[in-house]
Each structure stands twice: as structure tokens, then as C-alpha cells.
Point group: D4
Chain length 248, copies 8
């Protein structure tokens, strides 16, 4: 609330153009309104289908059920990540619209259809092992109203398959690269495109992989410019950030 | 080169609409042209002032001098990061246009003025200790044709200063958060905005900071969505990625 | 035993104000008495309800049962942390007063009511994931005779909820901040209050969280002064230290 | 600002008991006032001699000089940690009152005498190697108005020297234990007292000490209750936290 | 495709020695052909019995079944590593030729007999604990057409047993050393032979072994020249690399 | 075989004091005999009851059974560490003398009684949590013919209990200190005695204990001289080394 | 020495075909001769120009001078790695043939010309930063009598430059890939060739590179088969192993 | 002080066989006397030449000078480790007897000749790089009155040199093995002897050696029984422990 707005409000109160109670109410909410916390939420609500999010990892079935029940009262779309099939069955009991994306481990409830973007996000991965993280990223991005192109069969060890798909990768507005083991795919893709690349290290591998540390360090040290990184296995985070960029 | 283009080329050669030698030349370059490696470079060149980049870390003064001399022959702008004052003096000898950004440790040679974007990038940091990394990010982004807002006096330990600057931070199209020590600023900013946040951990700190590891892990685990991370002290990488996003 | 006391004792023995045997006995126990080991225990016993403590982690049900049975003979309050529900059932068999705090994983047996402090300890956390560690801290502090205010719904990613509770946090004599993931909450709270803050990193998170390492390093590097740290998931330790400070 | 205060303010504006401009001004500052950021600073200012603090690590002599010059305009006491002798000489040029504590690496400028507490803080260490960290803690605490007892000649390898000093250690309201190598002193002291212990690991040692990591982990895993930990070599942090507790 | 070949092709098209369509086809495939990706595969196919490989770790029984079914259509040999007995039973249902190497955890389907080399690979290990990794290496090498000598009873703690087998070890063309715990066997063997040694650290051990880290670091720091290292427990990788060298 | 012995052997062959075949045989075994590998084994066999050792960790019940059956044919004592109760039952079937030490997880078969030393080994630990490692050390030492004094109730957090037992600890020829958490007990004991101390870190603890790393580093950095360290949880190794020293 | 040889020797002694003293001497050296330690050295000596090797890291100029002086007496070639220019000057004083390879930090003294192999080793790297490690590998391999092809201008971020050199890389018998930062080049090259690849991680980089750890882990986890790894910056080791393979 | 002694003392005071003041004095010192702290020191003093020890690492020349001056007043031998040549020169000024062991970095002042043991300690190392740590161990052991055999030319990569020295190694009562790089020597020696082995990892090496971590982990995981470990580069600690064992 600018000084000008405060002056106008006070003048209105004095001139009784608005009631005393209306003045009190406007001023009472001022601290947070002014700091604009509401801006985010308002901004979010204006988008059709901007979903409520719940991370189910480490939660009990009961907790997930109760949280989703509460969310449903707000009539928004709902995105529940790291959800088990048991959680889905529980939710399906009281919510017909619930759909389960098994590979992504996502329960999704679409109550409003999002407005889809024209541009698309490419999700690139080497093979079938990282599929769960890929799908978490892809479904997240789609739920936020983005078109997604999945390119899952391209690895550094058989790089010609990657080149076959270069046009579709380069056509994207932002690219998510999911890779476990040594994570080299992020650097290779980063060197071939002129778009923001969000790299997701995965915990796929064994031994000196140290649960994804190898891929994480590899990606942070990428020799290709334009690569930023999220937490190990954090498909949701990549999908969310990519959505932000794609919808700019 | 599509099948259609190959058909047309062959037809022209057969009909002698183009000479035999022209046909040979077109086909000889075909592999890389087709894979589109040139696309990137062409794309880059079309932007006015897209700079040549040199990382001076671990290079000798002689190496830097020779590389920059060669780059000058191409008449592009030049951005030399992690450059010492001695390197700058050496370059200044043969290049009047060279400017040295001391805090950013950047030598910059602007031969063409970039077209500046309307939207801007915010570079946010807690204090004076991370200034070198901040300026590396900011100068990089500016050299790539972005407007930059520097907000350097906002730390988590005195959070009201951050709130004073919230409007300018929220007005940015993409936000770079630079933080050493525990890196909490990235999460706090990430929770207050609805824009992509690129977090840069710095090696500022001591003890259990482990040369930036504390801030790096902190940022990778950010509870705020929309935060991606680059390598420790990698101001250039953050500036480059932010530029990509800002110019989408 | 001061020199003066020794002089008086010897004089009494010489003057036969006390018997020879009483003199021998007093001197025989002198080493430990003088070093004052007993002081601690005496001091502890004088407080009403100062509990006996047992850490059940890695113990068998049989071991826990036998230890608690022995403790009951001393008629003190008993606090058993990291206890399973099975342990509780076993204890309940022979001790009607046993109560089980499920979220805290604490078995508590209150045989004497502690004198409660006027000042209170605030236990602050971001959400529901860290609840087990929070409750271990809170129940521990209460058992030691402290009033506790729980503020569990305040996270860095939605910082306005934290500000809503600032008055109650600032009113505490000492504050426990429990946080997993990146642990930024400790720095933010530490910057907003002028009271001792005890930070408890939790193992909540995944990937580059490395079982709480991220939050631990983050808290140790806090840019806010007045923050000290205990072991990952060590709610008991935080509750115990906070109690010491609150009762000073 | 409570709803009641807002009502009164609006009434006053309406009744012209305060001028229109006074009303605007009061409301303009309302957000931060209400959040109470000023509370901290006011609270701090009310204490006599509460010092301004500057961390000189990684700063240039010029930066330190300019910051201290600015601080002097506010007439507070000044505490500059990790300061070199060269910095001190520079400051001494324009500030006669500047004193240099060589072992603590602290420049201190006392413009007002703090009110000293009756209770005292004990700073306990094994020997001469950790002296720099000890003195940083001790001088910090003294500058904040605390009496400090230094007990520097007590190590675990010669534990009888520790017992000689037990009375003075137990007499403190809060105890700082500084230890490098394996950091066992924190556990031993923690087991002998019934007061809050703040443990400071130091980087003193070599090999598998890993720059203080051994002592840090050791202290975090202390088997003695009531021990909290600060960053490696963070004497200032320990002194600050101890001061907070001692002055409760 | 050399310039000369392009000239000849164009000439043939012009002279109609080949049809227009043949010219188009030859040029369409040119990019990849020229880069020679096919060379690898052609090269591989020419060897009798060069197997298809599948890493079963982290795959479901269904995934393994479908992949192997598809592979069988190509009539190559198949090597499935990290396969469980359940996977084997599933495969055995539709493929009579499937054999299960229990210790190696390998399913193998030999449809063509490889041409065996004259020279042999030695697989050296200390005892029975590393047997699974050893056999993965040995079976892999055999499937690729190498003779393998297994020397499994030779450890550093009883070094005379190693000397008894020196002749057979020295007779190999390349030596694989598998070792857990401290991995010293790689250095000892490396010092006794004048052949390439491929060291495989295993995760056998406990405590400060850190799941194979001790053996890995030990082998990377081997004081014996000629030792290269693969990932922890990566018997397949060692067998594959040794096969490459043995068949040079 | 010294030069002198060779001379004598050759002379005897020449003089036909021994047969030609005897000469060949003596020389054929010369390499290993001379290197003295047999010395160790001979030396070992001469001691009454020097046991055969088997580490059961990671072995199957079948493997343990077969190995022990084979060992029994040599009529030595047998010590099987990290053995489960199931393994014991299996062994008991065919070996009446087998005894199971449940806490130590040791199967022991005593076929000959060892000659016991006069001096004794002290095994010192803080409490009940490390009991399994303590007993592995103690039973191992006893099986090798050492007298062992167990002092299990002495921790750093209640140091007076340690002093009560000082005489018995100081009376030992060598002392094993077993400690988890921060491992401070090793330094405290090391400072109180003038005997070799073998420290065994255990994995007891949680969080920043990192499975025994904290105690391991602590012990390696012990400020007390005369402390050497074995692997985490390696009670057997400590018992074996202590036995070597005690029987010198 | 086989049984047959022993029989013959004894017979000769008996028949006095050789003197008694000759018999003693032959038998005295038997242990090592029989174990064949000499085999290695004999084998090595038979190759023309097989060099003596000295690692100068951490040695003083005096030590290097004395060692090389001693080596010169044996008239072999000499390869001194990690040598400073000062060391070279010292050596040049007494050895005219000494040559200094500045980038490789190698002093080389060629007294005999090695027989060069027909096949060659390819040394592949991304740029100029890793040049020192590359040259250490290349000069080492050349000194051992191998032809070497250097391909230093090919990085993952500009992958078309790598493809331009594919033929020369594929023509090698063994390939050394040197890479810092994220080390992705090893996987990319490994996927493009069917030859043994020896990967050398370098310490080039900063931040989360952790002095080469990122590249090391990346290479150990390479998704391309046929890649083995040596220690960080160990150009010598790679050159030595490659030489062994190339000369098989 | 036993109960009997207390009875006798009290009786004497009562009977005035000793004066009142003598009784007070005897009782005043009782606590520590009884705990027997003096026992250690008395025990130490009784040995001829038991030295005073000072660790010079991180101390200034002034501090070292003052400490040694004070020590000289007690007329004991003095052992100053990690001492620079400058420190030695300073000490030599006021102490003619000071001798400097350059490789060991030890200043030694022998005022009394120790009684030498009959048995000896073997110090075994691979080469010249670890010489400083070896000599620190050897000189320490000698100063404590032990005979020492140095065997410095035996490495795992040329294991026959080790066998040449086996007799002298096996003749020792206790063996110190010093090794950097991968530390395999400890396991090899441990497997060849039946005596206590104290392993000292050194920081010699580079890259994945991580300043001695590789050797440390290797030694802790030694497959040979009877090996205990001290801190990286801790030659003094090894020498001290070996002395304790040798003099039992």
C-alpha cells in the first residue's frame, strides 16, 4: 500500500465516503497485504488449475487421506507426489476423479482443466532406469499447464540416438535432463542447445555412485553453460521450475 | 537437410542448375549442418553483442593475452572471468577498450552494444562478503544484454531489510540469490516470489562450512519450490542461465 | 571438604566430640565427596520430579523392562525416549501410571509432579514432518518442569505464518527450532529474536540431504548469532538443554 | 498494532486530535512496526554498551576502516573479530580508544562501559593451542557485559588438573568448552556440571582431524546431556550465546 | 564419406549409373554413416557370439522378461547381470537355453558359440567373500569369448598362497584383481606382474570400509604401476574391459 | 636356510650322509621354508589351544557349517565371530562341544584348554549399548588364553564410576576401550594409565555419529598418548591385538 | 627352479662337474630366483629403452639429483615426473642429454632409442586446462616406445569438434581420456569406440569439484563399458597402463 | 589411601605422634593421592630418562623457547616434535646439549641416558617419501630407551626386498609400519609376522589419496589380524605406543 493509497483511505474515512468499520478493516490487513504475501496466492489462484501440492514421502496413509480431503474442499486441482498405490486406493474411495500415475508415483485430481502453454518442455533421459523421476517431472509440468515432450531413449553411451532427437529437444523452451550414474547427459545436452537446462541427478547406480552423489557433482561441474541443478531424484522440483520458465 | 532438400539438390545438379563443384561443397558440409551444430552458432551470432567467453582461472597471463588477441580478430564482445588485475594490465596494452571490473574480477571488451531486454534480472545477496560472486553474475548478465537490479543489503539475520526490497525483487523476471554460510536466503526468497530462482552458494564462511558445501547442500534441499542451483562461487553460470531465461 | 572442615573434623576426633569410627567414616568417603560428584545428584534430587532417563534406541524390550522396573524402586519420574509401542505395552503390564506419547516415542511415568517454571520454552517447526523430533523435545522439557509452547505450522517457504506467531516466539525464554531439509528456519528465527536458540537438525528429506547433514551444516553456519546446535534428530538433547537454561 | 490501536488512531484523525500528516506517517510505518522488527533493536539499544559487531575475515583493511569509521558515528561500543594487527594499526590512526587483543584477534572500542553481570561465564580449554578461539569467546562475552573466568590448563589427558578447578567451573552460570583434537573435554565437563555447556570445536590438530571435523562430530555426539555446539573455531558465537544465557 | 566418394556418387547420379532414388537414399543416411556410429555395431556383429547385455539391477521381473523376449528376436547371445533367481525362472519359461549362474547372479543365453581366444584372463581374489563379483567378471569374460583362469584362494594375509599361483597369474594377458576390505591385493599383484591389472574394489567389509570406499581409494592410490580401477562391485565392467584388452 | 645350512646340506649329499632323494626334497621346499611362512604356523601350533578363526559375517549357514566341519578335522579350538543363533543350532547338530556366546555373537568350540597368562587384559566400556563389541573382544582374548577383566559400567558422563575402577584398570597389562557416540572414554582412560590402550569405536549412536565415524575420528585424534585404534565394531581385532601384547 | 634343475645341480655337485662353491652360490639365490622376481626385471631389461622412473613430487632438488646420478650409472633411459624447472637445471649441469618437457613437468634422459610400436595410443582432452596431465601421459607413453596421437581440442560442450576427430580416435589401440570438471568426456568417448579407454580425472575446476572428486566419481560410474580409471591427475599411470596394453 | 592407613593416621594424630598440622596436610592432599594421579607421574619419574614432550606444531618460536626453558629446570630429557630448524637455532642459543634431527623434525635434549631395552622395535617403510614420519617414530622410540631397527627400503610394489628383511622384522618385539599412498604394506607385514603391528598412515600421495585418508581407511580395514592404527602422520604416537609395548 503506497503512501498515496494511505492518504486516499484516510481522506475517505474523514469525509465519511467509506464507513469507519471499512477503514479499520482495510488497515487491519495492511501489514501482510502490503508485504504482498497475498500477491503470490492471488497470482496463483488466477491461473486456471494451479494445483495444491502434497509430498507424501514419510507420511502415513491416514495423513495423506486427511490432507487430500481438506484440499478437496477448496476445489483446486491436487498433485500428490511420492504416493504409494495403497494411498491411491484410499483416496479413490472418496474421490472418483483421482487418477494414479504409477511410474511417477503421483496421485492427481484434476477438478479444473489448466490452460496449456503453446511452447513445450522437453524431458530427456537415457533409458528406463530413471523413468520414475522423469515421469514425476513430466506429470508435474503437465499438471501446471505445460505441454511436455518425453525423450527417454537417448544416452551418452549411444549418442546417435540423442542426435536423432535433437530437433525436438531444441524446439523446447526449457529442457529437463534426468540422469543417474555419471550424469554426463546434462553436459552433452547443455552443449547442444541454447536453452535453459534443468538437470536432475538420480540415485540410480551403485558403488561409487553414493546414492546419486556422483551425478550431482558431475552436473554441478558441467562444462556446458546454462545448466542448473536440483536435488537428487527431485523430479517435482525440476517440473515446477521448468513450468515457471515455460510460462514466463 | 530434409529429404526434400536433398531431392532438390540432386535435381539441380542433374539439371546443371548449379555446378558440379557447388553440389560437392553442399554435400560435403552436410553432416554437421544437418545435425545443426551450426544452428547454435548462427543463432548466437545473430544476437548483437553475444560475447566470446574466457575463463582465466588457472591460466597464465601469457595464455590469456594470446586468447584475447585471437578473439579480437572476430570483432565480438569479450568477457574474461576470474581475471587478475595483472591480466587486465597486459590486455590494456593492446586493447584500449578493455575495462576491468575489479570486484567481479572480469575483463570486458565491448565492441558492439547489446540490445537490452525490457525485463530485468535481480541479483540478491546478504552483504558485502559475497560481492565478488554477485558482481560476476551481474556483469555477465549485463554483458549478455540484460538489465540487472542489484539488491545486496538483505540478509536472513535482518529480514526486514529484505522485505523493504520485496517489490523490486518480485518485479524481476528471474532472480539470482547469492549466499554463503548457511545459504538460507535462497529458501526465504524462493518462498516470497513466484519466479525462477537461481541459487549460487559461495565459499564464504569457515569451519563446518567446508568451502561452500554447507550452502550448496542447503540450497539443493530448499523447501521452497522453483529454486535451482549452480556450482559454488559460479556467478558466471548463474548470470548466463538467468540471461537465457530472461531473454526467452 | 575445605581445609577448615578438615581442621574441625580432626579437632573433634582429638577432643572425642565424635567417635573414632565416625572420623574414619567421614574421611573414607572424602575423595568423591570433595570432588563433589554427589553435588550433582543431590542437586538433582532436590528438584521435585527430576526424572530418571533411559534411551531405548537399540535396546531390547526385555532390557527396557528390567531397567524401568529397577528405576521404579527409586520413586522418581521416568522418561524413556525412542520407545516403541511394544515397549510401552510391556511396561504398562507392571506400571499403571505409564503413559505413551506416540509421536514423541516417549514412555513417561510421573510419580511426582514437577514444579513448573513461569517462563516458557518455544518449540518451533515448519510442518508435520519433523513432529516426532519436536514432540521428543517438548515432552522432555515438560517432564523437567517447563511450560512449552508448540508452534509447528511455520516454515520459511510461507514466512508470513511465522510472523503471525512472532509474539509468542519472542515471549519465550529460550527457543528450540526443529528443521529438516535445508534448516533455514533456525537462521530466520535466530535473526528475529534476542533469546538463545537451540537448533535441532532432522533427517527429514532425501537425496543431497544425506540423512540430515544438509540441515546440520546449515545450522552450524547460521548467519544469526545466538544459535547453538545439537545432534541430528536429538529432540531430547534440545529439550534438556533448553530446560537447563529456562530454569536458571 | 492491535485493532484497538487502529480504531483509536482513526478516531483521532477523524476528530482532528492529531493532524492528517501524523496519521499518514503512523500508518505508513505500520507494517514493520507491527511485525516488531524494531523491538529487537530497541531492546538491544536499551542495554548500556551493547556493541556493534564486525567480522573482519576476508575483508580488506580499507573495508574494515570504512565500516568502523561509520560505526563510530553511532557512539556504540565496537567489536571487530578476526582482525589482523595491520587492521588495528589502521584503526588506531583515527581512533585513540581502539585496543587490540592479539590472541583473540579482536579490535575493541569501548565508548560506554557495559553493566556487568553478577554471575559469570567459565571458558574452559585444555591448553595453549586453542587459546585464540578461547580468547575470542572470552573477550566477546566481556564486551557484552559478562564476567568471565578463564580455565585454560585443564585437559582430558591430565584430568586431575580439571578436578582442581571444578569448583570454579561449577560456579559459573554457563560454561564454554573449547577443544580441538578429539574434543573429549566437552563430554567430560558436561558430565561433571549441571549447567548449560556450549562446546566450541577447534581446527587444532592434523591428519584425521580434518580441520576440526573430528572434534565437531565428537561434540555433537556427546554422551553428556546439556551440551550444545557451535561452528568450528566460532569463539564469537559461543561468547554471544553464553552472554544471552548469562544475562537472562 | 570422403570428398572423393561424394564426387563419385554425384557423378554416378549425373551419369545415371545409379538411379535418382538410390542417390537420395545414400545421401539421406550420410550424416550418421559418415560419423560412423554404425561402424561400432557392424564391428560388434562380426564377432561370433558378441552378446546383448542387460543390467537387471532395479528392474522388475516383468521388465526383464520383456527385454529378453525382444532380444531373443535378434538371435544373439544374451548376458543378464544382477539377475535374481526369480527372474531366471521367468525367463526359463519361454527360453529353454537360459542358464543361471547363481554366484555371478547372471542369466546367460548362448545361441551362438563365441570363438575363444588363445590367451587367457586371470581373475584373482582373496577368498570366498568376493566370489559373487569375481564370477560376474569371469562369466562376462567367458561369454565374450575369453578363456578365464580363476585364482580365488590367495590373500595378502597369507601371501605364500599367492606365490604358489604366480606362474598362472603371470601367464595371463590381462589380470582382474577383486578385493574388498583394504584392497591391498591389487598393489601386491600389480608389483609382481608386468601385465595390465584391472582392480575391482568390493563392498565386502564393515565399519570404516564405508561400503567399499576403503578398497576403492586404496586401489586408486596403488603404488604399483599398471593398475586401473572400475566401480565398486563392478565385475561386469572389469570382465568387459579385460575382454577388450585380451582380444586386441 | 642360512648359507651355513646349505653348505652342510651339500656336504652331506656329497658325503652321502643323506640320500640323494633327501637332498632334492630338502632343496625343493627351500623357497617357502626359507622365507619362513611355516614359522608362523609352526609358532601358532605350538601354543596350546591357538584357535582356528572364521568370520561368519555375510556367509550362509551352509558355508559356516562346511567350514567348521573341515576345521574340526584338525582338532584345534575354533572361534566363529558374527555368528547368528541359527548358525549355532546348525553347528550344535554335529558338534556337542559347541557353545554360543549370545552377546558376543560367537560360536566357540574348545577342544584343548589354552594355557592362561598371569597378566590380564581389561575391557572397559561405558554401558550396555556397546556390550556386543565388548564381549567379542573379551571372548576372543579368553579363547587365546588370556585372563580378562570386564569393566562395563564406566562412562565419561558419570566419571566417578570410572575412578572407582581405576585400580583394576591400571593393573592390566593392556587395556581395550570400547566406546560409541563421541568415543571420549578412550582419551580419558588413556590419560589415566601408563599401559597400551587399544580403542574400538562402535557404531552405537545416531545422526552425526555417521555409523561410528564420530567415535573413530575422535579416537584417532586422542590427546592421550599410547592409544591405537582398530576398525569400527572390530572387537575381534582388539581382542587379538591385545592378546599378542599380553602374551609377549 | 624346477625339481629337474635341482636334481641336475645336485648331480653336478656330486660329480664335481661344478665346484662346491658354485653349488652353494646357485642354491643361496634360489628362493627369489624360483619365485621369479627376477623374471620381471629381466623381462623389462630385454626391451630396448625401458626407462627408470622417478616421481619427484615431495622430493628435494638434492634428492632428485642424487637419484638420477645413480640411475645414470645403469645406462638406462630415465623418466622423472612432477619435476620442477629448478630440478631440471640441476640435472642439466651433469647430464647434457637431459631434456625438459615443461607442460608435462617431466625430465627425460634418452640414452637408448626405444623400439616404437606400430599401433598408437590416443590422448584425448577437452582443452588447454588439462594439458599438464595430458602431456605427462603422452610423454610417458612415448618414452616407453609408443606412438601417441594428441587430440586436445575436443570437449563435450562443443561435441562436433570431437566428431571431427573420431577417425583418429577410433584408429588407436587404446585411448586415454583426460578430463576435469564433470569428466563427461570419458563416457562420451567410451560410447563411441570399441577400444579400452583409460580415464584420468583431473583436479581442474572449483567449488563442488572438490579437487577432482567430481570427475573421479563421474568416470567410475561411466555408463559406457570398457572404461577404467586411474587416480586424479595421474597422467603417468595412464600412460604406463596404456603402454602395457598397446605393446601386448 | 586405604581404610587402614586412615585409621593409623587418625590414631597418630590422637596420640600426638604426629603434629596436628601434619595431620591436616596429609588429609588435605588425600583426594588426588587416593585416586592415584600421582602414581602415573611417580611411575614415569622412576624410569631413567623418561622425557618431557612438547608438540611444536602451530606454536611460535617464542612459545617453544619459553616452554623448553621451563622444562630444562626439571633436568629431564626433552623431546620436541614437529620442530623447525629455526626453533632449533633458538634453543641451541641457551642449551648446548640440544640436537636437531632434521628428517624427524625433532629437537632432542638428553640430560640423562635412558636404560635401553634388549628387545627392539622395527620401523618398516616403503621408501624415502615417508622418511619424516618414520624418523619421528624411530627417534621417539629411541629417546624412550628402545633399540630401533630401521627397514626403509621395502615396498609392496617390489615385494622381494621386503622378504630379504623378513628375519629382522620378525625378530622385533613390536613393529611400526609407515605407509602412504594405499597403505598396503601394513596388511602385507601383518600377514607375515606374529607380533603387534602399529600402522601409521601418511599423507604422502595426491588426488584420491585425500591427504592420507586412503591409507588410513586401508589400514583400518586390514585383512591381517594384529594391526592397530594411529592418526595420519602420527609418528610420535606410534613410537610412544611401541615403546610402551616393548618395555612391558
Amino acid at each position: 500500500m503506497s503512501e498515496q493509497e494511505i492518504r486516499e483511505l484516510l481522506t475517505k474515512v474523514k469525509k465519511e465516503e467509506i464507513s469507519f468499520e471499512e477503514g479499520v478493516k482495510a488497515l487491519k490487513d495492511l501489514p501482510f497485504k502490503d508485504l504482498g504475501f497475498a500477491k503470490i496466492d492471488n497470482h496463483r489462484e488466477l491461473r486456471v488449475g494451479y494445483p495444491e501440492i502434497i509430498y507424501c514421502g514419510g507420511k502415513t496413509i491416514e495423513q495423506v487421506r486427511e490432507i487430500i480431503k481438506f484440499m478437496l474442499t477448496k476445489e483446486n486441482n491436487i498433485l500428490a507426489t511420492r504416493a504409494t498405490e495403497e494411498m491411491y486406493k484410499e483416496v479413490k474411495e472418496f474421490c472418483k476423479d483421482a487418477e494414479y500415475h504409477k511410474e511417477a508415483k503421483i496421485i492427481r485430481i484434476m477438478q479444473k482443466r489448466p490452460q496449456y502453454s503453446d511452447s513445450y518442455i522437453a524431458v530427456v533421459a537415457a533409458g528406463t532406469s530413471d523413468i520414475s523421476v522423469c515421469e514425476e517431472a513430466a506429470i508435474t509440468a503437465e499438471t501446471f499447464g505445460n505441454k511436455v515432450e518425453r525423450i527417454y531413449d537417448v544416452g551418452v553411451a549411444g549418442i546417435h540416438r540423442l542426435f536423432d532427437k535433437l530437433d525436438i529437444i531444441r524446439g523446447a523452451k526449457v529442457i529437463i535432463v534426468v540422469a543417474g550414474m555419471e550424469g554426463a547427459l546434462a553436459s552433452v545436452v547443455g552443449g547442444l542447445v541454447d536453452k535453459p537446462v534443468i538437470a536432475v541427478p538420480t540415485s540410480v547406480g551403485y558403488g561409487a555412485n553414493f546414492n546419486g552423489l556422483a551425478a550431482l557433482l558431475s552436473m554441478l561441474n558441467s562444462c556446458a553453460s546454462g545448466v542448473t541443478v536440483v536435488n537428487i531424484d527431485n523430479g517435482f522440483g525440476a517440473g515446477y521450475s521448468a513450468s515457471m520458465i515455460n510460462r514466463l
